[in-house]
Each structure stands twice: as structure tokens, then as C-alpha cells.
């Protein structure tokens, strides 16, 4: 059975069983390897992507629930030469140690800044809570989100996508 997914603004026909979680389709069929498999149980956030602007765990997101919805992965934000403001802030603050959680962290931060460009530190902490980093760079990650927010709210523009 063919399903149609809108990923980063492009329409894709995918053949996976409609019960398949999005993560496996992104990585296996579409070659988008940014989102990572961490726990497969919605407990760590390494697989976080955005669906209709909201952060979701792609490991628990059945393809069947995605018809007509806009999926954004980290590949849709920017790339090495033209990072988006959130990616850039994570680079500047050197928020990654091993980096496995970072794509998920950036996607969760992006979903916050798209609806609230100038969150308080408390709002950032609460919003980022579902995503875990085993290396322990949480404080740098929070600093990166703060820094991205400060730049974006200074410019008064919403968190840009590519």
C-alpha cells in the first residue's frame, strides 16, 4: 500500500506498511538520517521531528497518522554551509559532545521558537524536558536555545526554515 508523505516541503510516495513508525521510513526509505533511533519508546527524544509545527517522537508516529500533514526533519532546516539560526547557535555554543541527541534537540527547540520566539529560561527548560542527552551537555544545549532565541527575537523574525 502506497502512502504519501510531505517531508520538508516535498511529496514522497512510500511503500512501508502504514503502521510503520515514521523514523524507519525517514531513515530506510527516504535516506534522511538526521533523526536517530534512541530507545524506540518515546522516552529519549533522539528521533524528534516536527509534524505541523509540533515536536513529536518519530519512533512512535505511525505513517498512517501522517496523511496531509507537514513533516519537517533537521535536513529541512539548513545544511553545513547554510545552517538555520538554531543549528548555527548549537554550533557556536558547541552544544554537541557525541552528537547523537542533537538533531532531536534542535527539532524540539525549533518547534518552541516557531511559536514563541522569546521564551523565558523556565519555558525553555520545560519545553526541552522530553529530550535527553547522555553525554550531559544539557547546560550547553539550553544555552544554545537561549542564544538562538535572543538572536531571533532581536531580529523580530520567526525561526527561519531553509
Amino acid at each position: 500500500m502506497t502512502s504519501y508523505l510531505n517531508v520538508n516541503g516535498r511529496q514522497h510516495a512510500v511503500e512501508a506498511d502504514p503502521a510503520t513508525p515514521l523514523l524507519y521510513v525517514l531513515r530506510g526509505e527516504l535516506g534522511l538520517n538526521g533523526a536517530k533511533y534512541g530507545c524506540g519508546l518515546g522516552q529519549c527524544g533522539a528521533c524528534t521531528v516536527m509534524v505541523d509545527g509540533k515536536a513529536v517522537f518519530s519512533c512512535l508516529m505511525p505513517v498512517r497518522a501522517l496523511a496531509g500533514r507537514a513533516i519537517t526533519t533537521i535536513e529541512g532546516l539548513g545544511d553545513v554551509t547554510t545552517p538555520n539560526p538554531v543549528q548555527q547557535a548549537f554550533q557556536e555554543v558547541q552544544a554537541a559532545q557525541c552528537g547523537y541527541c542533537i538533531a532531536g534537540m534542535i527539532m524540539r527547540a525549533q518547534s518552541l521558537l516557531e511559536t514563541n520566539a522569546a521564551p523565558s529560561d523556565e519555558e525553555i527548560r520545560v519545553h526541552m524536558q522530553p529530550n535527553l542527552c547522555r553525554c550531559g551537555t544539557h547546560s550547553r544545549i539550553l544555552r544554545a536555545v537561549r542564544s538562538a532565541s535572543d538572536k531571533l527575537s532581536l531580529k523580530g523574525s520567526p525561526a527561519g526554515t531553509k
Binding site: D17, T20, P21, L60, M61, P62, A65
Partner: protein, 430 residues
């Protein structure tokens, strides 16, 4: 004509006199004097043993849950309490003299708990469960006072309540109390053990279990004669604690004890929704008191001395996926990693969905709440079960719930699962 007029005059003056008498009676009934301010008692004025006892009792009463805002300082109030009559904000019960209860005497504190009257003489809303606290002994109230007066004083003003028009007029509450506040101490039942009576004293009094687990009437009073028949709490159904509990067969004194003490014991689902913080509070209570509560509740449920007799797990996988193919796909993609028989979580001694009260009960509200809001970890750090409110539409959650109901129970299909999903949507996403 003349006679008629005289009659009217008599009637009018009669009415005026009775209105005046009624008014005077009402004014007398409503009136409560302000009690004098005291200066905040020194910590040294309280004996440590009394303070420690008060700490245990405050744990039974779970004062901290309502009187602490999300991430706020303990007991400093401001937590919004949604009710059918509007939103109340809990008060600051730290010993700050201006914004808390620092200048309340013990007499004022006891009157607030047992009669629902503030130090300044104004009536308190029954969100403070004085219907229950009226049964608490004076000695226990003295200990609670000692505990609260020795907490960290926090300066914190509380927001104004947002109630339906007219309900901000507190003298009305005197009428409410006349109808629903049944004053009186606790009388132990002869022929019952000391532990049973202790359990009843705690359950009916400080623990105020009936506050959620007893249905309320249209004026918000607990229905007499329907004690523990099940009620509502913050959009969740507080299941019946009497014989009509849908999982009665699973409950024993031992499993009730483990559930209340540890929130999760492998013989029952975990404490979810507003029961989560209650179980977290009870984890700090002396085992003897938790046992007494478990014993009393078991007896209300008709399970005193019982052993589990629940029957085998139900799994109608085939017929459920024929009936609800979309729900079956959603379940495989979103839920199976934890809830499919044989999944990693079910290998850890967690129960199949067919054992859960939320799946067995005739109303889908709790199952919908768990899916839409997730189940927060008791420590407040993250979720045990994630929320699916951004992952699926309400109609998809509705179909998923129908599938779960058909697969894991032999009960009749749920009605209006989409409505249940919509009501369970977290407030900040509406």
C-alpha cells in the same frame, strides 16, 4: 376597597417583618467573627515530636499538592484548581505574616480546617475539604499547625479567583455549609479492629478520599448515601472504591498497600492523573498508616482478606483489527513498542492492557486522558508514557481507543471516544 387595602397593608407589613427576621437570621448564620492576629510563633514554641507527627498528617492530607503551584515553593499556594464553578487559586499556607498564615492562631487554623472560615471571618470555598476535615481530632490539628508554622515562610500573593458571576459572594457559602457540612468528630466502630478504625479515620478525615471518589451533587456537595461510588477529578474519572470498582477482583489489601505506597506494584496499573501525586505523597507515610488505609478501602470494596481472582488476560487481536483497521495500524505504530504482549515493557512484569481499570471502565475518559496527556513520572521529571496529542488527530485517537477497547476487553464498545479525546486535550493546546 378600604378593607382590601388594609389587607394588602397587613400582608405587606407581615412580609416585611418575616423578611427582616429571615434577614437577621441569615446575617446571624452567615456571620463569623474575625479572630485576632497573633505575631508569628517562634519555631522553638513547637515541640519537634509534634512537628514530625504533623508532617505525617500533612502527608495524609496531601496539603502540598493543592497548596503548591507548578514548580512553585512548597505550600505557597497559587495552584489553579479548576471546578465546574470557575477557577480557584489555592492559598499560601506558609507562615508568612502578610501573605500566608503566619499571624493565624491555632484557634483560627482549627476553625478554617473544621468549619471553612478564614481568620478574618470570611467563608472558605469547599475546595478546602472541610467536609472531611471536620472529623479530624483537635490533637491532630494541633500537630498540623505545628508542622505548617515551622515551614519556610514564603512571601507570595495569590491571584484572584475566577468564578462564575455571583459566586464570588462568600456569604453564600454559609448556605452551602448548612446543606453539606456535616460537623462532628470521628466515632470508632465497635467490633472493628483498631487498624480498620484508624483507616476509616484517615480516609474519611484528612485523606479526604471521598473528595474525588464520591459523586457530587449539582451544588458540588458530596452525595450522601453514594460514598465511594466514583467521582471526577480534573477531567479524570476517580473510579469507585466500593464493590462496583471495575477491577475489584484484582484488589487485595496487599495490592492496595503497594499501589498507595509505590504507585506501581505490578499487580495493578500505575497511579495516573491526579492520583499520581497522591500516591507519591503516601510513599512518605508510615507503613502502618498506609496499611490501615488499604485495609479500610479493601473492606469498602468487599475485598477484606481476599485473594486476587481476576481471570486470564483478554486479547481479541484478530476480531479487533477486523473491526478497527485504522486503530490497529495506529496501535502497532504508536503503542505496540510498550503494550504489545511480548514487548520489552511487558517482559518487565507490567500488566497487559486488559488488566487496567481505565480500559475496563464503561467510560473512555481515563484512557483518552492517558493517550492525550501521557502519564507524568511522579518525580515531575518527564513522562512515563508520552502524550500523543500532537501525534494524532482526535478522530485517530478515537479509533485507536475503540481498537484497544475491542481487543483488550469483552465489554461493550465505548461511546463518543472522539468527544473523550477532545475533552482530554491539554489546556495549552486548545
Amino acid at each position: 376597597m378600604n378593607i382590601g387595602r388594609r389587607h394588602v397593608q397587613t400582608l405587606l407589613s407581615g412580609l416585611a417583618v418575616s423578611a427582616l427576621c429571615g434577614g437577621l437570621f441569615a446575617a446571624w448564620y452567615v456571620y463569623e467573627p474575625a479572630l485576632d492576629r497573633i505575631s508569628r510563633p517562634e519555631r522553638s514554641a513547637f515541640d519537634m515530636g509534634t512537628v514530625k507527627k504533623g508532617e505525617q498528617l500533612a502527608t495524609v492530607g496531601d496539603c502540598i499538592v493543592c497548596h503548591t503551584a507548578g514548580n512553585g515553593p512548597p505550600f505557597a499556594g497559587s495552584r489553579p484548581l479548576p471546578t465546574p464553578f470557575g477557577t480557584l487559586y489555592s492559598t499560601n499556607i506558609t507562615p508568612d505574616e502578610r501573605t500566608g498564615i503566619g499571624n493565624w492562631s491555632q484557634e483560627a487554623f482549627a476553625r478554617a480546617l473544621k468549619q471553612g472560615v478564614s481568620r478574618d471571618g470570611s467563608h472558605l470555598y469547599p475546595a478546602l475539604p472541610y467536609e472531611h476535615f471536620t472529623h479530624v481530632t483537635d490533637d491532630d490539628i494541633r500537630s498540623l499547625y505545628a508542622f505548617l508554622m515551622t515551614r519556610q515562610a514564603v512571601v507570595a500573593d495569590v491571584p484572584e479567583n475566577k468564578l462564575l458571576p455571583g459566586l464570588g459572594f462568600r456569604p453564600l457559602l454559609a448556605g452551602w455549609k448548612m446543606l453539606f457540612l456535616h460537623r462532628g468528630g470521628f466515632a470508632p466502630l465497635a467490633g472493628k479492629t483498631e487498624a480498620w478504625n484508624r483507616g476509616k479515620y484517615l480516609v474519611d478525615g484528612l485523606a479526604h478520599c471521598g473528595g474525588c471518589h464520591t459523586p457530587r451533587n449539582i451544588a458540588g456537595g458530596e452525595k450522601r448515601g453514594s460514598e465511594f461510588a466514583g467521582g471526577l477529578a480534573e477531567g479524570w474519572i476517580a473510579p469507585p472504591l466500593d464493590r462496583s470498582n471495575p477491577s475489584a477482583g484484582r484488589w487485595t489489601e496487599a495490592s492496595l498497600f503497594a499501589y498507595l505506597k509505590n504507585a506501581d506494584n505490578g499487580s495493578h496499573g500505575i497511579a495516573g492523573g491526579p492520583m499520581g501525586p497522591v500516591a507519591e505523597g503516601l510513599s512518605k507515610l508510615d507503613d502502618a498508616d498506609v496499611s490501615a488505609i488499604a485495609l479500610y478501602i479493601a473492606s469498602v470494596m468487599g475485598r477484606e482478606g481476599a485473594t486476587p481472582d481476576d481471570g486470564p488476560a483478554i486479547d481479541n487481536a484478530q476480531s479487533a483489527s477486523t473491526k478497527h483497521p485504522e486503530g490497529a495500524d495506529l496501535f502497532r505504530g504508536a503503542c505496540a513498542a510498550c503494550h504489545e504482549p511480548g514487548s520489552a515493557m511487558s517482559q518487565q512484569g507490567r500488566l497487559p492492557l486488559s488488566a487496567l481499570t481505565s480500559v475496563r471502565m464503561a467510560d473512555p475518559a481515563n484512557a483518552a486522558s492517558a493517550v492525550m496527556m501521557g502519564i507524568p513520572a511522579p518525580s515531575g521529571g518527564g513522562n512515563l508514557m508520552p502524550s500523543f496529542s500532537s501525534a494524532m488527530s482526535e478522530s485517530q485517537v478515537a479509533d485507536l481507543l475503540q481498537y484497544v477497547r475491542a481487543r483488550f476487553t469483552n465489554g461493550s464498545p465505548w461511546k463518543d471516544t472522539e468527544g473523550a479525546a477532545s475533552s482530554a486535550r491539554p489546556e495549552d493546546e486548545r
